[in-house]
Symmetry: C2
Subunit: 422 residues, 2 copies
Amino acid sequence: MKIAVLGGDGFCGWPASLHLSDLGHDVLIVDNLSRRRIDEELGASSLTPIVTPEERLSAWQEVGGRQIRFAEIDVAQDYDALLDLLVTERPDAVVHFAEQRAAPYSMKSPAHKRYTVDNNTNATHNVLCALVESGLDAHLVHLGTMGVYGYGTAGMKIPEGYLDVEVTTDQGERIGQQILYPTNPGSIYHMTKCLDQQLFAYYAKNDRLRITDLHQGIIWGTHTDQTLRDERLINRFDYDGDYGTVLNRFLMQAAVGYPLTVHGTGGQTRAFIHIRDMVRCVQIALDNPPGRGDRVKIFNQMTETHRVRDLAEMVARISDASVELVPNPRHEAAENELHVSNDTFLDLGLEPTLLEEGLLLEVEDVARRYADRADLDKIPCTSVWTVEQQPGVPTSRVPTPPSGPGPSPTSSPAEAAAPQSA
Amino acid sequence: MKIAVLGGDGFCGWPASLHLSDLGHDVLIVDNLSRRRIDEELGASSLTPIVTPEERLSAWQEVGGRQIRFAEIDVAQDYDALLDLLVTERPDAVVHFAEQRAAPYSMKSPAHKRYTVDNNTNATHNVLCALVESGLDAHLVHLGTMGVYGYGTAGMKIPEGYLDVEVTTDQGERIGQQILYPTNPGSIYHMTKCLDQQLFAYYAKNDRLRITDLHQGIIWGTHTDQTLRDERLINRFDYDGDYGTVLNRFLMQAAVGYPLTVHGTGGQTRAFIHIRDMVRCVQIALDNPPGRGDRVKIFNQMTETHRVRDLAEMVARISDASVELVPNPRHEAAENELHVSNDTFLDLGLEPTLLEEGLLLEVEDVARRYADRADLDKIPCTSVWTVEQQPGVPTSRVPTPPSGPGPSPTSSPAEAAAPQSA
Ligand SMILES: NC(=O)c1ccc[n+]([C@@H]2O[C@H](COP(=O)([O-])OP(=O)(O)OC[C@H]3O[C@@H](n4cnc5c(N)ncnc54)[C@H](O)[C@@H]3O)[C@@H](O)[C@H]2O)c1
Ligand SMILES: NC(=O)c1ccc[n+]([C@@H]2O[C@H](COP(=O)([O-])OP(=O)(O)OC[C@H]3O[C@@H](n4cnc5c(N)ncnc54)[C@H](O)[C@@H]3O)[C@@H](O)[C@H]2O)c1
């Protein structure tokens, strides 16, 4: 297959591109390198030393023996270039990673909120619009997040995208229906993924585009079989307060002998998946496209769930670190349950890499190995979710956070757990 | 109250501004005049002769004895000016009409789709973001559409924004919940209103903004008490294939002795409201804001429903015209039922102006009076909804339109009628 990977220079997109290339697909990366510029803005950088896109690609040519091409296009801003690429290259599939993906970054300031909404909505809409205009019947695979499902849980397992509900007609008759799972996003970033879902539903219905949306948990792990083959192929490892996901920050803190900082009680349950499994899932999704005219296929792309404090303890145990509780910058329930259905990928043959097995390797091979490159000042999260949480605001103004587990008749149908992905 | 009316130069915004000013409120219009530029782009213009914003406002000062101020700001593009205005003026309420509002226009070309998504999403998000940044506790009243509810009906009355559903837990327990009515938009324009809803839900929850979303039916009628006072205050009347709503196009055709063109079988049922009732509804909504921390208040702003062919017959009867069926450019069910709950406004004292009473006046006072200004070539709708509907595409490629009335287990919960508003 010919596959265009939008956002192919990023943390997920790069190893996915290598994996697909290694399988023999013709891979074309599209990226505007905004993530590298955000590193500069934040004065942060990947713990692992990542090289330029050009060096990465020539290293892969050398080591992997295959060509991956690269086009520097802003998918949200430069529609004509995107359309031109689709029309000229005629890919069989498009994998769409090209969004601003950090929840804390999306909450940093009004400008960051607006950038995230503008970039993500226009990126996704441009891809959809260009697919229709090009007349291609390419399969679009999008990376969404488990975070669309929202907070808390009503004792319900989160289904894969669609929820069975019953409604009562005016005649008192009960009718069963399947609806897009009502969303309850916990940040501006997560909200953009809810907007994406609506765009996908519309284009699948009106234009019969074939779309798969992967509701992904938090990625952990750094290396895949391909990125390990040469240090120039290494993947990025973010540990800063904006882009570093919870596990990476723990690993980093452990590696440098700092206490692991847990937000609030650490009672938030999150869904996780190893980066090797992510690349396999993208491949499986590509191999199983929906038919033309079908509704959007939604898979939950996660393999295990953990409470944040259990995670901290797991990392502390293997690395002899301590755990420290700090105030939670997010506006969310202190504790939540999380049960997620992920049958589709398991049925299609995914064999999960479990945290218990792989964590030690991460501490040793990544966090400790590159610890001297770390800037420890960057680890804390400095974004806050509401005006009231800003430093200096008296606590009496702090609003009550959303209620914990259990159904709430005035909010979402089954207020399901919000595994913020970043 | 001090009220900022975003989009206050438009068809709804102008009479609403006059009405609110007449009631004694301090009104400040914000508009980028994009609608007037779209007139130029389409080579169309209002049937009624509308004057410049400056002339309108000085006429109102003269005739109404009150000042309305005007700021030319692109709400979607110029965030800083919007923020500055909120911070300086500190309005008690913001009424948000500032979006691209025509479904056919939103489907004209890829560029029109992209403009509509970009303009509407960023306009709404900028308003929300600026309200938070300004620290104002202003009440935001937004004009949404009945079109968010979608096609068809499952024998259910459409509730006001929120749907009661039952879900079953893993333990087999049934739990009642109230969810945001699952959307099923019929065009890119309608889809942007679904995105708006998600933005509102998020900001009401995270930032405790006070927001009312009015799910409005198709406006009919041209004059209000205020616009009638001087010809320089006259409201716009669109009759072209993009912006002319179904009733206006019939009125125009009747006025010039043309057959009334009905799309498809004319079996689509739509919801309507007179422009005098619209301005009253906005006032009622302003008088009844939600509390801080409340979920978004949603009112259905419509007073009656009609099948398009019945409407055509009604107009034909009073004006001695004939009715002609033409192919439907939209991708929608041929026939649908529509039952809509509008109790909130009726309970709050709205006394509807009915079509049966007001139609004749429209034919005589508006359509016939200004008929010599009409460009009849502009009446047909030239946008089509899908690639397959483009002229020259063999009908075998035309996809089956969405199914008609009756529940459909794979789509929306209660596939409710889509009264496209424009
Ligand atoms: N990392 C996780 O734990 C995680 C979890 C759930 C979902 N996801 C989703 O997976 C996708 C990829 O995440 P990631 O961790 O690789 O993020 P990343 O920031 O490392 O990669 C995103 C890439 O997209 C590019 N990009 C952004 N906007 C673009 C635009 N307008 N035009 C062209 N390129 C653009 C960036 O330069 C970057 O290379 C995102 O959509 C994210 O929401 C990630
Ligand atoms: N007219 C109807 O039948 C109807 C029905 C349902 C809902 N609505 C909704 O009511 C609202 C007003 O509709 P209308 O019929 O008055 O439309 P309109 O096009 O006549 O008015 C919209 C006004 O907003 C302005 N505008 C658009 N984008 C802007 C931006 N980025 N910055 C500043 N100003 C901007 C335009 O210049 C115009 O004056 C819309 O949101 C529409 O969706 C209208």
